[in-house]
Symmetry: C2
């Protein structure tokens, strides 16, 4: 095996080991010593293969994002959106797919949001872009729903919608608050996303007739 192959194989082994721990026990259970033992290398070797432990955690996060992207991608978009109602339905389906993913993979999903870069390091660009690709799945139905938005406004709205959905899912699955049974949580989520889509379309219709200063734009 060439040295480059060995390096790549060890990298994969370490990501696999970290992924098992994060998916089963969560981020707090991740220890460099355990990873090294599982991958059959010295602790110091981890830092030859990864710049820092954050990079390893982000590689696992990237796998979680890819799984999530597949789950959301399974929501079939119609070839063209005929109506605002179809677009709203697709947004609701995406939100429910997100909830179902979070409910099925709660530990590794939570790790995505718990992780903070240490020592004020910035998130690498490739990871930020992978997140954006995820939000982008909402942009197609949003374009059908609100065709007058430019790309920036649509992207920001997709991010906001994702955040609202995430909040409902995160606090809904949180044992700390009085949490809802999953079917009721699905109803609440669907009703809220449907209301946002309907409300945005309705406010736009109102807005095109009169432009009141007191209705928030954006």
């Amino acid at each position: 095996m060439a040295p480059g192959d060995h390096h790549a194989a060890l990298r994969t082994k370490l990501i696999d080991a970290a992924e098992r721990t994060i998916a089963e026990k969560g981020l707090a259970a991740l220890k460099a010593r355990d990873l090294a033992r599982e991958a059959g290398c010295a602790v110091g070797t981890i830092y030859n293969v990864f710049e820092h432990l954050d990079e390893l955690v982000l590689c696992v996060g990237s796998r979680t994002l890819a799984m999530l992207e597949t789950a959301l991608g399974a929501v079939r978009s119609p070839d063209r959106h005929g109506s605002a109602e179809e677009a709203a339905t697709e947004l609701v389906q995406l939100a429910l797919a997100y909830l179902d993913f979070a409910a099925a993979h709660t530990v590794r999903w939570r790790a995505l949001f718990e992780h903070r870069m240490s020592e004020a390091r910035r998130l690498p660009e490739w990871f930020v872009e992978q997140q954006h690709a995820l939000f982008a799945q909402a942009e197609r139905p949003l374009a059908a729903l609100l065709p007058e938005l430019d790309q920036d406004a649509r992207r920001t709205l997709a991010h906001t919608l994702f955040s609202a959905v995430h909040g409902i899912v995160a606090l809904g699955l949180e044992e700390k608050l009085a949490s809802l049974p999953l079917p009721e949580l699905r109803n609440q989520l669907a009703a809220t996303v449907c209301a946002i889509a309907t409300g945005r379309a309705e406010l736009r219709a109102v807005d095109s007739r009169r432009r009141p200063a007191d209705l928030p734009q954006g």
Copy 2:
């Protein structure tokens, strides 16, 4: 000083010390040894005064909830809601007050949501009730907006709305994701809450004319 007074005074001292740490440095910085030193007692004494460290953290959380309740309470509700639009405006104001509080007290606010009870202890009832009192601030405008909802449905909706607002605020203030400048975040939040209120009212109007099976209820 009677023994009971001493106990109460030490309790307050320990909560004060924990509050300073949590508000300035966050939950992770909280160490029993530092607290004991600040309050001038032995480490073991903390566990005479509090059942466990979780109880102390919840006492600080309770102070944060009280601050938050005051901040939301400053949103003046009209004596009676004349219109759905007035109710929607109040919901938007509550959401913006929540965002402003989180932006001003980010570290202690984040601690509220990061804290997990150890050893699968349940949250005490008094803490759960204080949280509910907070959500209840949205129930009055919701009652004006959707008078047909019974109390349970209104309470659940207030919880869902809070969760959506929390998600937008939490991810919006999160340095990890491409976060928005505060004025833009306020716009996005206001537009979303306004859309939810408008959309709920609109869907109800539609619903009262025809009851389609495909529109989510709840």
